[in-house]
Structure formats: structure tokens, C-alpha cells
């Protein structure tokens, strides 16, 4: 590309004082951050859709139908919670999809924002604040979370695992789990100075055990008592148990349902407070 030092340029110039109203960014800055994240996500739309539909389809075929047939034939049909094994499994799979969908949008983008491309610093050089970046990232993460859960629900509906009436409530429960967990993980990601495999460790030692020991494949009561605590502190179990109660009427006491909602929301509050502090202090350095 040739460069012409003498090239004439015409630039209109009214000046920021007249052109920019700071109050617009102060009010809507979080939405502008979310807009940027969604624009980034749109670059990967095919992967997101393919993963959103392909992953549940394969999972339902192998685990849901394969293992489900074995469970139903061994224990008898509708042996757990008086529903098919696939229906029992569905709320857990949706909770997992919600958590994973939101997680993808808070971990790598945060590394990109603080370490790789330092785009959070460019956002913060405008009127955008650290708290608005936190809110914007979470808004975009929740968009991805809702999309991923909804696609999963369509697959579950096609497999006859859930009823269409249960779609909104399962969407809400799974998204709440995704919200709580991703808020905490956003703060955690903001504390990482360099990616030296820490997210692989999180996947291996937090996400996988959380999925395996949160009553996903069998009721949490059937696990040894020394393993049940993993479920109790995991948003995966709270969303799974709540989803089962609200979608097909699994017997869960109202006080326990309140704890399920409460814990997921408390996680969100803790995560957002922590993330706000991390972002503000890191951007100021």
C-alpha cells in the first residue's frame, strides 16, 4: 500500500464539547460494551449455533437415550422421580449448558481485554467505567447463555424430554445458574495476570466435578454423604433440582426451592461486587 505524505484530507470538526454528551455514555455505557461483545460473538455465529445444536444432539443420543435405555431397563420405566430418565436428565443438561455458555463469554474475553489485546483499557480511555465493562460483559454472556439453553431446549423438545410449557421456566432457572457462576468467574478471570493453563485447571477441577457430582445423572441423595457437599455449593445442583421441581413436579420443598434461587442470586451478587472491584483497580494501574 503506497503512502502519500502530501495527501490532502478533508476533516469536518465540531469538537467533542458539542459532539459528545458524556451523560449518554454514563447512562448507557454498559449497553455499548455489550454491543461490542455481541459484534465479536457474531464473528463466531456459525460455531456458536453448531455447538449449541450439535453438542446436545450427540449428548442426548449417547447418554440420554443410550444410558437412559439401560437405566430404564434395569430399574424399570420411570423409576426415578416417576419420569423417563431423559426427562430426569434434561434440567441438569440445561443447567450445564447455561453455565458453560455464559462461562465462555466471561473467561477468554476477559483475558483478551486485560492481557492479550488490552481492549478493556481502550474502553476505559473513553467515558466507559470498569463497572460498565463488567455489566456489558455479563449482558453479552447472558445473551449467549440464553441462546445456548434455548437451542438445547429445542433438542430436548425434539427428543420428547421436556414439554414446551416448561421451556420458559427451565430457561430462567438455567440462565440464573449461568449468571451466578459466570459473575464469579468473571471476577476470577480479572484477577489472572497471565494465562498459564489456569482455565484448563478450572475446567478439570471445578467444572467437571461440578457436573459429575451435582445430581446430574442420579439424585444427589444416592451419593455418599462425603461427596454431597460438592452439589450443595454448586449452582449446577441448585439449578438442576429447581428445574426438576418446576418442570415436571419433582418433590422439592418450597424452602429448599427458595434456597436454590437464593444461592444462585447470592453468587451473582458476590461475583459482580468482586468483579467491579477487580476491574476498577486493574484499569487504574
Amino acid at each position: 500500500m503506497s503512502l502519500d505524505v502530501r495527501a490532502e484530507t478533508q476533516m469536518t470538526w465540531v469538537g467533542a464539547k458539542k459532539l459528545v454528551d458524556p451523560q449518554v455514555s454514563i447512562r448507557y455505557g454498559a449497553f455499548f460494551v455489550a454491543e461490542n461483545r455481541l459484534r465479536n460473538m457474531a464473528k463466531w455465529w456459525l460455531s456458536i449455533i453448531a455447538f449449541g445444536l450439535g453438542n446436545p444432539s450427540l449428548y442426548l443420543l449417547s447418554i440420554g437415550i443410550g444410558v437412559g435405555s439401560l437405566v430404564d431397563s434395569s430399574l424399570g420405566a420411570n423409576a426415578i422421580d416417576h419420569v423417563s430418565y431423559l426427562t430426569f436428565l434434561a434440567p441438569a443438561l440445561l443447567a450445564s449448558a447455561g453455565i458453560q455458555g455464559a462461562l465462555d463469554e466471561v473467561t477468554w474475553p476477559t483475558m483478551e481485554g486485560f492481557v492479550w489485546d488490552r481492549t478493556f483499557f481502550s474502553m476505559n480511555s473513553t467515558a466507559i467505567t470498569g463497572k460498565q465493562i463488567v455489566s456489558g460483559i455479563l449482558m453479552a454472556a447472558m445473551t449467549r447463555c440464553l441462546l445456548q439453553v434455548f437451542l438445547y431446549e429445542l433438542c430436548l423438545l425434539a427428543f420428547g424430554a421436556i414439554s414446551w410449557q416448561s421451556i420458559p421456566i427451565l430457561l430462567l432457572v438455567s440462565a440464573t445458574a449461568g449468571f451466578g457462576f459466570s459473575a464469579v468467574m468473571l471476577a476470577f478471570s480479572a484477577s489472572i495476570k497471565d494465562d498459564d493453563g489456569v482455565f484448563a485447571l478450572v475446567g478439570r477441577f471445578i467444572i467437571t466435578p461440578m457436573f459429575m457430582f451435582s445430581g446430574t445423572f442420579y439424585p444427589i441423595d444416592s451419593m455418599p454423604i462425603y461427596l454431597r457437599w460438592i452439589g450443595w455449593i454448586s449452582p449446577q445442583w441448585h439449578a438442576t433440582n429447581l428445574g426438576r421441581a418446576l418442570s415436571y413436579g419433582s418433590p422439592v420443598e418450597p424452602w429448599l426451592q427458595a434456597i436454590h434461587w437464593g444461592l444462585m442470586l447470592v453468587l451473582a451478587v458476590i461475583g459482580i461486587t468482586w468483579a467491579n472491584r477487580m476491574f476498577e483497580s486493574r484499569l487504574a494501574k
Binding site: 495527501a7 455514555s25 454514563i26 455499548f32
Partner: protein
């Protein structure tokens, strides 16, 4: 150049720092500096790495809070009104922080959106900025496909998207080849003509001389001197400098015999600098003493000499 030139350069203070201080624990990065930048001025912070230039810049950019003194930017306090101030600033950071996933034009679009500018306005503005940065042909390329110079021009164009009152440039040409540097200087000079207030940090003396009306020389968090490049050179150096080399092992011993030649002598490991109105006369005197330098060079004094005089060190170490 722009037809709608704003030439209302007045003494309106855009930035006023009084006893400005920044501490990190016990470490004092900026130590009670005082300065004022007026509208339309091109103000430079000159100093070596670690002098406190970037820290000062971050405080002016209203992203890092001062720990002492007072700072007023566009009539506001950055510690309390950061977003309001930043809405009217343009920032070109030391490290290009462009979005790799997005195309060239999209980088300008999303940045403009952070200021709350409408997509309709930005559509036209982006075309102007691409032309200004000579990146029209690259509008649909991803930023990772751009050369270092192109990325820098895009970062500068991005900093102009809100038509800032003050443009802050932190080491704008570090790492660029000479051609890319000259292109950037030209673009920055055009902005200056347009009436944009520029604040530039650099450790390149030629850049400071090219772009800055007034300079503040910093070292170890303090102001060593302040004035226009010409004023600083006049005050702290002579008109000419004679550089002589006798071989790195001999410079120190020969220096003793050169006493009395020139107004002032600086002995560096690789060369001896002799400050005097006429470098040629000094060279004649040296030859008369029977000394034969390996190389000799007479040049005009520069800001490098000013810095050496003030701190006893060179700018790029």
C-alpha cells in the same frame, strides 16, 4: 488540509497541574510537578523510560487517580469526574489496543459507540478517518493483518473519532520505521493546525523537536526543565557540539588534555562532546595539541544535549 480550521488559540487552560503526585506504596512515580497546557498547544513530556511520563499521562487521561496535589482537566477534577473528562479526550496509548477480531472500520465504529455517537454520524466519520489515516484500502481487513505503522495510524484515527478537545499520545512512534514515523508526524502536525491540543510523551528528541511547542523534561518523577525546544537548547546547551572519538579505551585519558577547549566537556564511554559556539574552532585547537581523533563530527545542539546536561544521562540508554 481542513477547510474549517479553528484558530482560536488563546490562553485558555486545558490542563492545570499543581504539585501533582503519584505514589505506589513508597515509590514516588510523579513527584509534585506543576504545569499548564493551553488550548491549541502541542505540549511534550520528554524523558527516559521510568521518568514518570506515562504515569503523568494516565493521570491526565483520567484513568489513574493522583495521590497528591491538584489536577484540573477541561475545568473538571479527574478523580471525581473521570467519565465526563474522558468523553472529551482522545487517547493513543503506548501499546496499540485494537480489537483483533474486528475489521478496521469496525474498530472505529465500536470505539465511537463508547462515546454514545450515533451509527449514522459514525458512518461518515469513519470514512473521513480512514482517509486521514490512509487506510481506505484496508477498511475491511482485520487489524491483525495490518503492519505496525498501519496499526499505529488506526489507533490515532480511533483517538480522533470523538473530535477530542485534547489528544494524548503516549510514545506515538516507538517501534516504527523512519517512513512510518514521518507519515505520523505529518498527520499529527495537521491536527495541530486544526487547533487540537496535543500532549505527547516521547523519548525521541527529534520527535519532540518536530511536534512540540513546549516541552517538560522529566527525570525520576520530577521536572528538570520546561520551555520550547529552542529555548531549552539555548538555555542549557551551546549552539554547536563537536563529537570526537579517540577509541573507547582512550577517551577518558585524552579528556584531561582537552580542558580549556570549549565551554563545556562531556565524556561518554564511546565519545567526548565539546560544547561551543563553533565546533570547527574546537577541532582546530585539538589538532594543534597534536591529538588525532579517530572520528570527528560538528553538529547543532539538540534536546539530547539538554537532557545530558540536566541529568548526566542520555535519553535512550
Amino acid at each position: 488540509m481542513p477547510k474549517e480550521v479553528r484558530k482560536e488559540a488563546s490562553a485558555e487552560a486545558m490542563i492545570t497541574a499543581t504539585g501533582l503526585t503519584k505514589k505506589y506504596g513508597d515509590f514516588v512515580a510523579v513527584d509534585g510537578v506543576n504545569f499548564t497546557v493551553t488550548r491549541g498547544e502541542s505540549f511534550g513530556l520528554l524523558g527516559p523510560n521510568g521518568a514518570g511520563k506515562s504515569t503523568t499521562m494516565k493521570m491526565i487521561a483520567a484513568t489513574s487517580q493522583r495521590t497528591g496535589g491538584n489536577l484540573v482537566i477541561l475545568g473538571k477534577d479527574p478523580n471525581r469526574q473521570g467519565p465526563e473528562i474522558r468523553a472529551h479526550l482522545g487517547v493513543v496509548p503506548q501499546q496499540d489496543n485494537l480489537d483483533r477480531e474486528l475489521k478496521v472500520w469496525e474498530n472505529l465504529m465500536v470505539y465511537g459507540r463508547y462515546f454514545g455517537l450515533s451509527r449514522k454520524f459514525l458512518k461518515g466519520k469513519i470514512e473521513e478517518l480512514l482517509e486521514f489515516a490512509q487506510l481506505g484500502e484496508k477498511r475491511n481487513s482485520k487489524t491483525e493483518e495490518l503492519s505496525g505503522g498501519m496499526k499505529r495510524r488506526l489507533t490515532i484515527a480511533r483517538g480522533l473519532v470523538n473530535e477530542p478537545e485534547i489528544l494524548l499520545l503516549d510514545e506515538p512512534t516507538t517501534g516504527l520505521d523512519p517512513q512510518a514515523r514521518h507519515i505520523l508526524w505529518d498527520r499529527l502536525f495537521r491536527l495541530k493546525e486544526q487547533g487540537v491540543t496535543l500532549v505527547i510523551t516521547t523519548h525521541y528528541m527529534d520527535e519532540a523537536e518536530q511536534l512540540c511547542d513546549r516541552l517538560m523534561v522529566m527525570d525520576k518523577g520530577k521536572i528538570m526543565a520546561e520551555g520550547s525546544p529552542a529555548e531549552l537548547i539555548k538555555k542549557y546547551s551551546s549552539r554547536e557540539v563537536l563529537e570526537v572519538r579517540f577509541g573507547s579505551e582512550n577517551n577518558a585519558s585524552v579528556a584531561g588534555r582537552l580542558k580549556g577547549i570549549g565551554e563545556r566537556l562531556e565524556v561518554l564511554p564511546d565519545r567526548i562532546l565539546i560544547y561551543e559556539e563553533s565546533g570547527e574552532k574546537c577541532l582546530e585547537q585539538i589538532i594543534k595539541l597534536g591529538l588525532e581523533p579517530v572520528t570527528s563530527l560538528v553538529r547543532r545542539s539538540s534536546l539530547e544535549d539538554v537532557f545530558l546536561r540536566l541529568t548526566g544521562r542520555t535519553l535512550v540508554e
